[in-house]
């Protein structure tokens, strides 16, 4: 029981510690995760408690991290690997797609790949190049994976426990911009959360705002602002991108008839497209207005002098909601 409220990143550390304590098959690996406790401090203190045989610093190579992780997982360990930043997952993509996602499928269940890849994700922290990517679409078209993204300390804890316990590979993306945004009470009770539900964070009846990751913050703020104008917005945190809990979204859109999807990645072929496509299929006749997407532009996220102009903002979300509401 953590008596004190903790941040999202502290919830991650807490979840890692819990699983390390209760399941000896769990190991943590990555660059600087050991004595240094990770560049974001997600593994702070773990090496001192669990030792260098459970918390492994790796050589500086993401291919190596991915390959070792898949190799260990297929031999019955439960590795939790860290990509130091989102921009460095690309060398891991081959092992994730060609092996992690297919091990069970290829061997008809003989070997499996119960691994977690933790990826600090997204922009807005004034970081150098390649440290601010919203690249979840690299993984969402890949069968055999689960791609999840918590957006609160409680969900970070419960979903990480679930990810580690899940018998299949999970890509666990961490909205680094909100690592330390606020604190919540997160009992260290080992209770996992499901990996296949979208969360309705705020009930509303006029319009549905769908988002995930760091943009949950802006979206909730936009809903607050809209409420002041008498507009009741429902806010959904997708939380698990794949496999998707579409019924929760459908139910909301059927109720409100309007939907704004908010995400940080570039628009074209971003994951928002999938949600919009499903709406166009499942909820077409319930729609009162076109499905809006508020996203990053179809450009690279700029270096930090301009990056806030790239990201979705409260303003942009409100404007999209109003465009939607203008249809009657």
């Amino acid at each position: 029981m953590s008596a004190q409220p903790i941040t999202l990143i502290e919830a991650i550390t807490q979840a890692l510690a819990y699983e390390l304590r209760t399941d000896e098959r769990v190991v943590v690996l990555g660059e600087d995760v050991g004595v240094n406790g990770g560049v974001f401090r997600a593994t702070a203190g773990l090496s001192a408690v669990f030792g260098p045989e459970r918390i492994l610093d790796t050589p500086l190579d993401e291919t190596t991290i991915a390959g070792l992780t898949v190799g260990m997982a297929s031999q019955g360990m439960l590795p939790v690997a860290e990509a130091q930043f989102d921009g460095f997952v690309y060398p891991m993509v081959d092992f994730i797609i060609s092996h992690a996602a297919r091990m069970r499928y290829r061997t008809r269940g003989r070997l499996t790949c119960p691994m977690v890849l933790r990826v600090p994700w997204g922009g807005g922290i004034r970081a150098p190049e390649h440290h601010s990517e919203a690249n979840e679409a690299i993984f969402t078209n890949v069968p055999g994976l689960r791609v999840v993204m918590p957006s609160s300390p409680q969900r970070a804890y419960g979903m990480l426990l679930a990810a580690i316990r899940d018998p299949d590979p999970v890509i666990y993306m961490e909205p680094k911009r909100i690592y330390r945004q606020y604190k919540e009470l997160v009992p260290d009770d080992g209770e996992a959360l499901p990996l296949d539900v979208c969360y309705v964070l705020r009930d509303g009846s006029d319009i549905t705002l769908v988002t995930w990751g760091a943009q949950v913050k802006e979206t909730l703020e936009a809903a607050d602002a809209l409420a002041k104008e008498g507009i009741s917005a429902e806010v959904i945190d997708v939380a698990t991108l794949t496999p998707l809990d579409f019924p929760t979204i459908a139910e909301s859109v059927k109720k409100t008839g309007r939907c704004v999807i908010v995400h940080e990645a570039p628009r074209t072929a971003g994951y928002g497209a999938e949600i919009a496509a499903r709406i166009a299929h499942e909820c077409l006749f319930d729609l009162l207005a076109p499905v809006e997407r508020v996203t990053g532009y179809d450009t690279h996220i700029p270096l930090f002098r301009l990056e806030m102009k790239y990201l979705p903002s409260v303003d942009k979300i409100i404007a999209a909601a109003k465009r939607s509401l203008a249809y009657s």
């Binding site: 050589p59 390959g67 898949v70 190799g71 297929s74 290829r106 008809r108 003989r110």
Partner: protein, 357 residues
């Protein structure tokens, strides 16, 4: 000149192409009768290989990668491993896999387009065939790391080709095995070619064995057509690994006598002379001569055994041909431990299309 470091790479050969020994038998070969058993396995493998090629030619198998010429290397790699060790093949090392208990029908199912080929009942932890070149080397390093962390006394053995030794994943395996001092044996089967690209075009290194130096591993080059040298190389590397001495890179010098696969035509890119010359050094001639000279083998024995091999292989082929195609839902049923809600509609649709809703 001040020297920062010095290295020397050893070359192993015991049985010369003419079937005579270079010197005394090494520790890996306690007596000649083990060689008789291994020679019989080589004959079985070559029988299997020939029949698989024939099966492909008649349209009853998909693309197949022959192992013609690699028999001593492949069988020698597998035979000294312990059951609890883990083997990570590329796509050609049936000889090693048969030593691990993989069945010929598995090979046929795999190349016949059926995932069940990868269900190795006798080698439940071995890796499946691995198409993305050399990724198996790095997965094996991960397996070796799990042995080390769990303090298990097992060794991971992985195989790639000369081409595969150019792959970054191979280097990652070398690097990580050295960094963690892992019980890992990286076998590079240098058969001269990577499809149409000759060994010389892959790298400027004099030997492929020396790539192990990049990670501080033990390096060894051996005559891969000499079963005795192969066994001794594997013995040394396995012992080292099991005793905590870390990883090895072994380069096995052999030759790909067949096309790359049945989809390839090697005449496009290599001369007949080279292939002819290679046939003079292949692994059967020398071992047959050696065993015959010792009175441990003769033509009649060979004839009877090859006949027996033919029968055994035919049984396996029949087992393969009689395996019914998997039902359509197999696409869904091995994707996750439990099929997620979100995919159940698709599975139902697939069943419905077959009238099995």
């Amino acid at each position: 000149m001040t020297t920062a470091a010095k290295f020397e790479i050893e070359y192993l050969q015991y049985l010369k192409p003419d079937g005579t020994l270079n010197g005394p038998l090494p520790p890996a070969v306690p007596n000649n009768s083990v060689l008789v058993e291994l020679f019989k396995k080589m004959l079985f493998l070559r029988t299997f290989d020939g029949k698989a090629i024939a099966l492909q030619r008649t349209g009853k198998l998909g693309t197949y990668a022959a192992c013609l010429g690699h028999e001593a290397t492949h069988i020698g790699i597998g035979t000294l491993m312990q059951p609890d060790d883990v083997f990570a093949p590329s796509y050609r090392e049936y000889g090693a896999q048969f030593e691990r208990g993989v069945l010929p029908r598995n090979v046929l199912l795999y190349w016949g387009g059926d995932e069940r080929g990868n269900v190795f009942e006798a080698a439940p932890k071995d890796y499946p065939w691995c198409v993305p070149i050399s990724t198996q080397m790095l997965m094996a390093s991960g397996a070796a790391l799990s042995f080390k962390l769990r303090q298990q006394n097992h060794v991971a053995v992985a195989v790639c080709g000369d081409g595969g030794s150019s792959k970054t994943d191979f280097y990652a395996a070398v690097n990580s095995a050295g960094a963690y001092k892992l019980p890992l044996v990286l076998c590079v089967v240098n058969n001269g070619w990577a499809i149409s690209v000759p060994r010389a075009a892959q790298t400027g290194a004099e030997t492929l064995a020396q790539k192990g130096l990049a990670g501080g591993l033990h390096c060894l080059q051996v005559d891969g057509n000499d079963m005795i040298a192969v066994l001794e190389a594997m013995r040394r590397a396995l012992d080292l690994a099991r005793e905590g001495g870390g990883g090895s890179v072994i380069e096995f010098m052999t030759y790909r006598l067949h096309d790359h696969t049945t989809a390839d035509d090697a005449r496009r890119y290599r001369g007949e002379e080279e292939v002819k010359a290679a046939w003079l050094k292949e692994p059967f001639i020398r071992l047959r001569k050696y065993l015959t000279d010792l009175g441990l083998w003769d033509e009649a024995t060979e004839k009877a055994w090859v006949e027996e091999c033919g029968k055994r292989v035919d049984d396996e082929i029949n087992a393969y041909l009689n395996t019914p195609v998997q039902p359509v839902e197999a696409m869904f049923d091995y994707l996750y431990a439990e099929l997620p809600e979100d995919l159940q509609g698709q599975r139902a649709e697939a069943l419905a299309r077959e009238g099995r809703a």
